[in-house]
Symmetry: C2
Subunit: 245 residues, 2 copies
Amino acid sequence: MFDTTNYLSGISIDSVLMSFQNNRLEVLLLKWKGANIWTLPGGFIKRDESINSAAKRILKERTSLDYIFLEQFYTFGDPDRRNKVQLDSLLRMIDADENIACWLRQPFITIGYLSLVRQTEIEALPDQFSENCTWFSIDNLPELIFDHEQIIGKALAQIKLKINYLPLGLTLLPQNFTMKSLQQLYETVLGKQFDRANFQKKMLKLNVLQRTGTQQSGMSHKSPFLYKFNKKKYSRLVKEGIGYI
Amino acid sequence: MFDTTNYLSGISIDSVLMSFQNNRLEVLLLKWKGANIWTLPGGFIKRDESINSAAKRILKERTSLDYIFLEQFYTFGDPDRRNKVQLDSLLRMIDADENIACWLRQPFITIGYLSLVRQTEIEALPDQFSENCTWFSIDNLPELIFDHEQIIGKALAQIKLKINYLPLGLTLLPQNFTMKSLQQLYETVLGKQFDRANFQKKMLKLNVLQRTGTQQSGMSHKSPFLYKFNKKKYSRLVKEGIGYI
DNA sequence: CCAAAAGTGTTGTAAATACACCCATGC
DNA sequence: GCATGGGTGTATTTACAACACTTTTGG
């Protein structure tokens, strides 16, 4: 059972797990027990852990992943970010113990974390408050609790802002990928098109990609090369800023 | 007197007030009463206000400034970010009421805010815990409490990261300034030199500067032009990213 | 006249862009 | 053969960096 005294009160963590599937950015959402409303995976901070390790722990509980890209991006602290009527009805749904309910009714600020992941590597599990979890395209989100839609929006803005300092390719694409899919990733994130030939030349010039073979597509055209990242070179590049897109 | 029940517990705000003086970046620090140790201006969040307005209010209490550049940049939540021995000795210095002392001894996370200001427009005031305040060059800081040096470091990193999205010139330089001082600002922040002629050409091409006359320098050389920003054009540019430095 | 620093111009190189061409594949 | 999409080459334009030249000012 959840013992509130082990945790910092008034502070939560919400994580935006972002993936790239079917040429779309998708986020993982949990369906609240008994209600047709969704939430970001989140949790609370133990008294003796840092917020960063709390975020890591929470994510591991949901995804079993140990080493993933995870980064704090913003703290949300509007006093009415959690609609009281909605909160009450949600607490009723889960039949919350009065002690816990009272604890949850305090004002809460939440620290937003961004995680970049591959769906294929994750078997996501619901938590104590939710009954299942699914990936949603970010431009087709269901009804979300509280300010969680705003949190996703801010996460997306952060990705665009830090795009030259994020290992998008390494975290979001499969190990082996085509140049086209890399291009589509950047086109989707930035919402603009690139010239195919020039994109390829830029990427190869960065000197972080290596060919691993060709994709047997069965399509009526030349089969494209597959690439993978040279991880060392790529992380060094990302640290200094790709500065190329 | 400070009534702890009005405030969220376990959460504070610390602001890095950054200015540009004598070709150096300087931050405002407050000297703790009776101790030779300094802190960032900070405060706590009232139960009914957002963290952003709390940051604004706290800054106004210190500087009397109403409209200034203020932006959240990171939340610090290491459980041992506040050294207990140091905290106790600091509480003794200010003769803290036992109620307040107890409240302050809880684990605290702090939300870091960055503010870009002109020293000339500010008459900074110490708060209830401090006896005076001064500007310090960021590469010559005094002893700081807790993790405040780390907070300043992160603020600086944030400035470098977002440099194309921050109105550095408008917030840090006097209304009328020379091209040289604008260049020195960017050189100081980024820690690298630019070619004088090329810098001037780039800046003028951005189409956000207008000449307002010349500086009567009394120096034995040509007197430089003075410039000011076209604020509308400049804010539009900053929003999209200057992308030019 | 000279030194110092500001303003402007020139030139060579590098990068970004647009687009053309060829290649492999399945029908 | 042809449509489709992948890979590569080229020409043009644009940007960048280095540096030279000119101007103003005080001594």
